[in-house]
Amino acid sequence: MKKIISLILFSTLLFSSEKPLLTVYTYDSFTAEWGAGPKVKEAFEKAYHCRVKFVSTSSAIGTLRKIQIEGRRSKADILLGLDSATIPLAKTTGLFARHELDTSGLQLPVAFEDDTFIPYDYNFFAFVYDSRKLSNVPHSLEALAAMPEEFKIIIEDPRTSTIGFGLLLWVKLHYGDQAADFWHRLSPHILTVTKGWSEAYSLFLKGEADMVLSYTTSPAYHETQEHTTYIKAAHFSGGHYGQIEVAAILKRSKHKVLARKFLQWMQGREFASIIPLTNWSYPVVPVTLPKAYEHLIHPKMLMMQQEKIQEGRKRYIQEWLRAIKR
């Protein structure tokens, strides 16, 4: 009996040591039941004989902060979920290793090249509303600020959320020196500022606000999963700020080879086919998109230069904080 038990124990030991563990830190909507996480885990584990563990927080920048706070002891191998606009911030931490992969074959709406961060999907920010409840839909940032007093929106915090920071840059591109004035005018309409997208969107679905800062692809989720078409994204004149979501390997990762394989795999067709119906974004490899994507709006993509973002980040956030404080 003892022998059998020790044999079992030994074999489980062998079994577990045989399969290396890849720890991926990300935001919570990625790991949600309906999100990309479960499918990604299953597919990658099967293809590469390993185990994948997702550790999630409420926002992408929050995840970066978590890794910073954990310091040298952090178990993270990969950080997944920052975006093009937060790359400069992430690089200043010096925590990430070069990916040494060729990304030239990827299809993106704008030119993108980075030696550390690998793009895995892209999207457009948009204000989303329920067309049964909202009739006078604003079609520009200016119109948004000029809505009646009782009109409320939910946005994400630019200090923690990539989408919140994206709106900050969107406003900055549109208004330049007048950005603070715009925020000041918008602030009476801001019901609350959440840490990440999930909280904001679930509050909106509960009917707490008229609009929520989300993505142009959000309606596709409701059409595909719930067969409803009343959730719509407002098409703003002058273009929508775009987001390219990225992933990178931690310098301190003990599974760099496996981590690199994961990033490589994220550029393949299998991952690309999971993304549109789980992470509700456009994949970076051409695959057939779900039918609901045909009904989405296709705005012009706005993006600010990396150098300008790096140089302005702290100032923009200070400006935002002061403007909504008044």
Binding site: R65, K66, E199, L203
Partner: protein, 496 residues
């Protein structure tokens, strides 16, 4: 030296603390005064029991309940919507919410301590004031106020310090950076911005000012010699006007106090209370919280017994050095007010980073240590006077019998100290169960306590699960704080 926004945060911290203290004391004294003069009113009797729990009510539960009543979708707005078709909106978040929660917590505390002070006024003084024909106002001014003045000052300094270092209330109800206290600013600078230099600035400012305040407070207040005597009820009826006022105040305050707690129970019981119990993270949080509370409450007793016996030693030696050492031990038990949770947490964080230690293990140690320090002021002020009493009575006897230290402690001291130890145990266990301080820095899926889990649920607006967790926490705290001391008291009575 400091950036403008750090100074703004500092001024706001002082401002809200001063205002919270003033409002809490004002309400606290009115309630205490009403309770003393309306002893036989049914709501008074209920209030006395209910308010005694206020000291251990977790901040996060209070905040959650207040949101349920005064929040955007709270009972108040729902009622207004139903009756008049309009809503007060989201008025809770900001200064109002902070003041409301601080008053909720501290007016109750002030009412409890001040009721004790009122009851120590000798009946003769009331007789005198009656024979002089004093009205309620004159009676208050000439008889009652001078008697409760010292307790009032002492409560004022305690409440001011608590509000100055307030974290949970401001984190949950502040709403935006403008209404940050230094403690919340430290949390945000580290956990949201990861700006170490700024965190250091904030922590140093907090440390300096709260240390100065603790020293100043110890100069003002002096010793707590509040040994309760059997109080005699005042035999006369109050005049119609003041009785009406007093009864209304008690009744309204009781409603104000109970409504948020009732809301939690309603919200939790209206949905599936037990679904949350199947969540692995909840089970982990519950076990971790119980473990932390057990360890820290036992250590609290040990440390406070140690401090109390040291104080006794210094007290019995009449040298100048002994007097200085005596004050030093008193400061020791108040150290958590000088080095509040987030400052201490940040210290631990720097230590963990410098020596490359395991975050979860050291986070656990940090939480336990902070919970011991949290209950120490209350623990020593409960055990120390008792020990002094016993010592005065039996010191010479035990010396003449040649008892050893261990024997003396177990045979002579322990039986007398048992009720106080039971109280301290329950108090620190409950403090620990409800503490949302250092855990805010170290909380993760690996290290999770009930308040942290509740905070996370609230953050992601999972209100129903949050209500269930809040109710479970509330029931635990009340059960432990009311039931355990009774059990120990019974045991004690049987042993005698």
């Amino acid at each position: 030296m400091f950036e403008a926004d750090i100074l703004q945060t500092f001024y706001f911290t002082l401002f809200q603390a001063a205002l919270s203290t003033f409002l809490s004391l004002l309400l606290g004294i009115v309630i205490a005064w009403s309770l003393v003069h309306q002893r036989n009113f049914w709501a008074s009797r209920v209030s006395r029991v209910v308010l005694s729990v206020s000291i251990v009510l977790p901040v996060i539960i209070v905040a959650f309940g207040l949101i349920g009543i005064y929040g955007r979708n709270g009972w108040l707005n729902q009622a207004a919507e139903y009756l008049f078709g309009f809503s007060f909106g989201a008025f809770l978040y900001g200064l109002f919410g902070i003041l409301l929660a601080h008053v909720y917590l501290n007016a109750s505390y002030a009412a409890v301590t001040l009721t004790g002070a009122f009851e120590m006024i000798p009946l003769e003084q009331y007789k005198l004031s009656k024979s002089l024909g004093f009205g309620p106002w004159k009676r208050f001014w000439y008889v009652e106020y001078p008697a409760v003045k010292s307790t009032l000052y002492r409560s004022a300094s305690t409440i001011f310090l608590l509000c100055f270092t307030s974290f949970g209330v401001v984190l949950l109800l502040g709403g935006q950076p403008r209404y940050n206290t230094l403690q919340v600013a430290i949390y945000e600078a580290l956990r949201i911005d990861f700006d170490i230099p700024k965190t250091l600035h904030l922590a140093l400012l907090q440390l300096t000012v709260s240390s100065l305040l603790v020293v100043a407070a110890s100069l003002v207040t002096g010793k707590t010699g509040n040994l309760k005597q059997a109080s005699v009820p005042i035999p006369w009826r109050e005049s119609g006007g003041s009785a009406f006022f007093q009864k209304n105040m008690i009744f309204l305050f009781l409603i104000f106090f109970l409504l948020p707690l009732i809301e939690i129970a309603y919200e939790a019981l209206g949905h599936d209370l037990f679904s949350v119990m199947n969540e692995p993270l909840f089970q982990k949080a519950l076990l971790t919280s119980l473990l932390i509370a057990t360890i820290s409450s036992i250590l609290s007793i040990a440390v406070s017994l140690g401090i109390a016996s040291l104080q006794l030693k210094f007290l019995n030696r009449q040298t100048r050095v002994a007097k200085v050492l005596y004050s030093a031990t008193a400061v020791l038990s108040n150290i958590y007010l000088a080095v509040p949770s987030l400052v201490m947490g940040f210290g631990f964080f720097l230590y963990i980073q410098a020596y490359d230690l395991d975050m979860d293990r050291w986070g656990f140690i940090a939480v336990v240590l902070s919970n011991i320090l949290l209950s120490l002021p209350f623990a020593t002020s409960s055990i120390s006077p008792k020990m002094e009493q016993v010592s005065n009575r039996y010191r010479k006897l035990t010396a003449s019998l040649g008892m050893g230290a261990a024997k003396r402690f177990f045979i002579v001291y322990l039986p007398y100290l048992l009720p106080s130890i039971g109280f301290v145990w329950a108090l620190s266990f409950c403090f620990s169960l409800g503490d949302l301080g250092i855990i805010a820095l170290f909380g993760s899926d690996e290290l999770v306590t009930l308040p942290w889990y509740l905070y996370e649920l609230m953050g992601s607006y999972r209100t129903h699960q949050a209500a269930s967790v809040a109710l479970i926490l509330l029931v635990l705290v009340i059960a432990i704080f009311i039931v355990i001391p009774k059990m120990v008291g019974k045991l004690h009575a049987e042993n005698r």
